[in-house]
Amino acid sequence: MLWSLVAVPMLVGLAVAGLPWQPRLGWATAGFMTALVGWAAVVVAVGSPTSLSWGPRLALTLDATGLARVMAVLVPAVAAAVLAWVAATGGGHEPRPARLIGVLVAFVAAMELLVLADDLLTLLVAWELVAVCSWVLIGHRHDDAHRTRQAGTAYLTTRVGDLGLFVAAGAAVAGAGSLSYDALPTASAGWLGLVAAGVLLAAAAKSAQLPFSPWLFAAMAGPTPVSALLHSATMVAAGAYVLARLAPAFAPVAWFGPVVAGLGLATSLAAGLVALASLDLKRALAASTSAQYGLILVAVGSGATGAAAGHLVTHAVFKALLFLAAGTVAHATGTLDLRKIRVGGASPPLTAAIVVAAAALAAAPPLGGAWSKEEILAAAGRSGPWLTAGVVAAGALSALYAARLAVLVLRPATSPVPPPKTAEAAPLLALAAVSVALGALWLPGGGRLVEDLSGGRLAEGAAWELPVSVAALAIAFTAVTRLVRTDRLATGLVPARVQQVASAWFNLGSLGRLAVVSPTLSLSRALGRIDDAVIDAGVRSAVAVAGACSRLFAAVAELNMDRVVGAVAGGWLAVGGAARVADDNGVDRAVEGVVAGAVTLGARARRVQTGLSHQYYLLVAGGIVVMVVIAVLGRA
């Protein structure tokens, strides 16, 4: 049954991608995805572990445990909203919408495989399928060379991380003799550490953590609905999910928790600055994605996988909403430039959606996003003062950038902005409603529910944490409203010099090109030349000598081909004689016949004249081989 969550959307997706586009197809696909949500809820509740054998040593195994159950329902749920938005906009303002939604559905299938995976092989399979779907989706406008190159950058960056999973798989086989998650604890400390390191590398690349974060900027070349799904419930979510899923198994690895938490915090702070500095709405949102997954890593590193699960869910909902709203706004205003973008009160539903989404991103109580962020703060509090201070700072940053984006976008419009259609606003409102409903987690028992559903743990929070967070939020909001009045909000939050560097992701992308890509390409070109000029030169000189010999040989052969052939044949027959065989005229004739045949064949095969000598040499060589065969055959 679990397989149906993978196979059905995969086949439906591929089929839809090949159909001609019409609005009904869009709604039908959204309807299919909604049905899949219900089916997923049923399957994860009653489905038993299952596997597909790949021979005696390998198998793809699926199991819906803890967090996997939550994710298996969450992924199609977010996708359903995204697909409804595509249908409502008549194709997401993109060319070839059928291909777009078809691949989006396949993307969901790959992600379902990833969350249900119960061993490293299945994980690796899903991991790569998710990546290739994202490559197709980011490069959706395949006639735009710039966008397809950006898709390549995103794919290659994350593929560097994929190597980690290969290493992890090798280490698991060496240490535990199995690729199964369940067998990991039986691995010795050294091998388990290597597995953990490999998984961390892969997860960091996928979840856009340092130093891989800039690939999310490249991914911005894709259509908005792609970003909405990719940032919230698929692809980028995969890294954080897998860390949360496997963290218990890595408990014996001492460095794992601190390193994961440290990496997450560093990314969260750096990406927060990037989000603050960015002048492009989608880029600012992309940076906030890195920052939010950074917070989830802090939770994982602190041992609070329940908090990580909670934030995975709340973030998925509000981030999908943010991107879809950004898509609607961008289409209405024709820009993503934060200095120019302003929709004012063009449409109350749109305004409401933006306010809810931004408030959730800012972690404003009583929204669900605030609950999970507070749980992360509580988890960090258990790990020491530095991490706590860091999370408070990261939280303040997220409040600042969320407020900045919302306030900038909602500035009164200078020219009339067409309001979105009701159908387009509906998925936004639905996601906003879910975001608000997730506020129920604040109620008593909310924490217990998350722990039960995800199978993870939560940390006991300290009393001062919530007031401090709310105060930070208030300060952030005040600062933002003040700046917007003087019209310095877009550029005035960070010093101009920092702005430039930060909005380019601290030049990490250029640094990567400079330190990795360019040297690789130079090396590749140099080796290409060496291959011709040095390695092959040795061979060529040998060939020249052989060629001279063959010309000499051929000169003799041209004088009297028959005699040479006869002599060679005779020579081989003499060899045969050495093997205690008598001479036989029949064989002799057969040999000569075959050689003559080969010569005729060669004569047909070559295009006349020049270079006859080479042919002769080769014919004789080939003839010799045939003669050996015949001679020994005849003597058996």
Binding site: R57, T148, G152, A174, L523, V539, A636
Partner: protein
């Protein structure tokens, strides 16, 4: 039965050669019919294969008893998949439309002759027979390249012939060295494998091993013995390129397993680390040089060197491994990679042939934007490229995951070779970018999509790549059975 598979193509070749000139056009259809014979036999052989230790379906005939030479054919879990893949590849190569320049009889007769040599090599269980087929295959391929190639076809064919002939002579010396150590003197592979004649450590064992190493390294080819490959591929006709990459290269890697590993396990173990270093160098070097290519066919040729590096890495790890699980995994992966590479690279070379017939060039800079115009070509090209870079769901991944998990478990440092996976991804993304993506140039507006015969040949190869990629159990069962028991006494 296997004998029929080996010699049916040869009979077909004679039949085609004997066709009257006015019936020459029938040559293709005769060849097509003939290539289904070995394929059918392989399907039957697969069904009858039990999968225990040692060889099955053995057929034997006296040949030169005084030298201990016999005609013996048979299969195990390593050679059966290779022979089956070979018969499939020849079918695809014959199906693929090709302009024989008015000489269909000679072309198809040579193609079938080459099939006999190729199948004979994988099925031979006698070292002498193995050597004969090894050399005869060179002759067939030489004439195909020289007679129907383009560019500097004759020069490339000559280089291919001389280089690989030199390699096979080194191998011949090694075979003789091995033969002279057997007691009683025999060329019988099964007997030599059961009692490897040359104990590791001696000078003679080392010399013989290096003879095999160099001989097979030329054929495979491995860096630095690879420079015959790119020109041979570039100038060869598309179906011949497919056979060259898909079948002939496997003769080298198959030799590494069947002869070097099975007949000299101790010596191979001694030099396993050296072999793995050569493999990693081939992986990285092949991928890096491929990245620099501006010619589609040269690019694919260099990725072959990279993929053969994966195969050798798995074999080297199997030789070094003391853990049976890791050894079997690495060796099963290496064998799967041979099959996968045959199917996938075979398809890529056919696609390169389609490019040549439409554009008259392999230069990547003259292509582009074809995704907008040719859905079938785009889909097959993208599928083949992603299969080659190891996308899960396709055959290459099944091979690579096993090679790397097995190898890393044996020698964690070999993980350096993983960089090859990123590099091949870069190579193929760049290729797709230059051929399919971006704006469609004006002069390519009239590019016709794949024809029916082209699609049929590509479907034969790529559908197998998908089947193996999604559910490879039936294949891995067969390979695993032999990989597990490949070295008697070391289970």
């Amino acid at each position: 039965m296997l004998t029929a598979a080996v010699f049916a193509p040869l009979l077909g070749a004679l039949l085609i050669a004997g066709l009257p000139a006015r019936r020459a056009a029938a040559a293709r259809w005769v060849a097509l019919a003939v290539t289904t014979v070995p394929l059918s036999i392989m399907v039957v052989a697969w069904a009858r294969f039990n999968g225990g230790a040692g060889f099955e379906l053995v057929e034997r005939a006296r040949w030169i008893p005084t030298l201990g030479v016999t005609y013996t054919v048979g299969v195990d879990g390593i050679s059966l998949p290779l022979a089956a893949m070979t018969s499939l590849l020849f079918l695809a190569a014959v199906v693929f439309p090709f302009d024989t320049s008015g000489r269909p009889r000679a072309y198809f007769a040579l193609m079938l002759f080459l099939e006999t040599a190729s199948l004979g090599l994988f099925l031979a269980l006698d070292l002498f027979l193995f050597y004969v087929f090894f050399d005869v295959s060179l002759v067939g391929m030489y004439f195909l390249i020289a007679g129907w190639g383009h560019g500097e076809a004759r020069r490339s064919a000559q280089k291919f012939f001389l280089y690989t002939l030199a390699g096979s002579l080194v191998m011949l010396l090694a075979i003789i060295g091995l033969y002279l150590a057997t007691d009683p003197r025999t060329f019988d592979m099964a007997a030599i494998i059961a009692h490897p004649p040359l104990p590791a450590g001696g000078l003679r064992a080392t010399l013989v091993f290096f003879g095999f190493l160099i001989g097979f390294a030329v054929k495979t080819p491995l860096v630095p013995f690879h420079t015959w490959l790119p020109p041979a591929h570039v100038d060869a006709p598309a179906p011949a390129s497919t056979i060259l990459a898909g079948v002939l290269l496997k003769m080298g890697t198959y030799g590494f397993i069947r002869i070097a590993l099975q007949m000299m396990p101790g010596t191979f173990r001694r030099f396993a680390d050296l072999v793995m270093v050569i493999a990693v160098v081939s992986i990285l070097y092949g991928a890096l040089v491929a990245l620099a290519q501006t010619n589609l066919k040269r690019l694919i040729a260099y990725t072959s060197i990279n993929h053969m590096g994966y195969v050798l890495l798995g074999i080297g790890a199997a030789a070094a491994a003391s853990d049976p699980g890791a050894r079997t995994l690495a060796l099963t992966g290496a064998t799967t990679e041979m099959v996968a590479h045959g199917l996938i690279t075979g398809a890529l070379f056919l696609l390169a042939g389609s490019v040549l017939t439409r554009s008259g060039t392999y230069e990547l800079s003259k292509l582009g934007g074809l995704a907008a115009r040719t859905p079938l070509f785009t889909a097959t090209m993208a599928l083949a490229a992603f299969a080659s870079l190891g996308l899960p769901g396709l055959a290459g991944f099944v091979a690579e995951i096993q090679v790397f998990t097995g190898t890393i478990a044996v020698r964690p440092l070999a993980a350096v070779g993983l960089l090859g996976i990123v590099l091949t991804a870069a190579v193929f993304l760049r290729m797709l970018q230059q051929v399919l993506l971006g704006p469609l140039p004006e002069n390519l507006r009239g590019w016709p999509d794949l024809g029916r015969a082209e699609l049929a040949a590509l479907t034969i190869l790529l559908s197998m790549a998908v089947v193996i990629g999604v559910a490879p159990g039936w294949l891995l069962d067969v390979i695993d059975a032999s990989a597990r028991t490949i070295i008697p006494g070391r289970r």
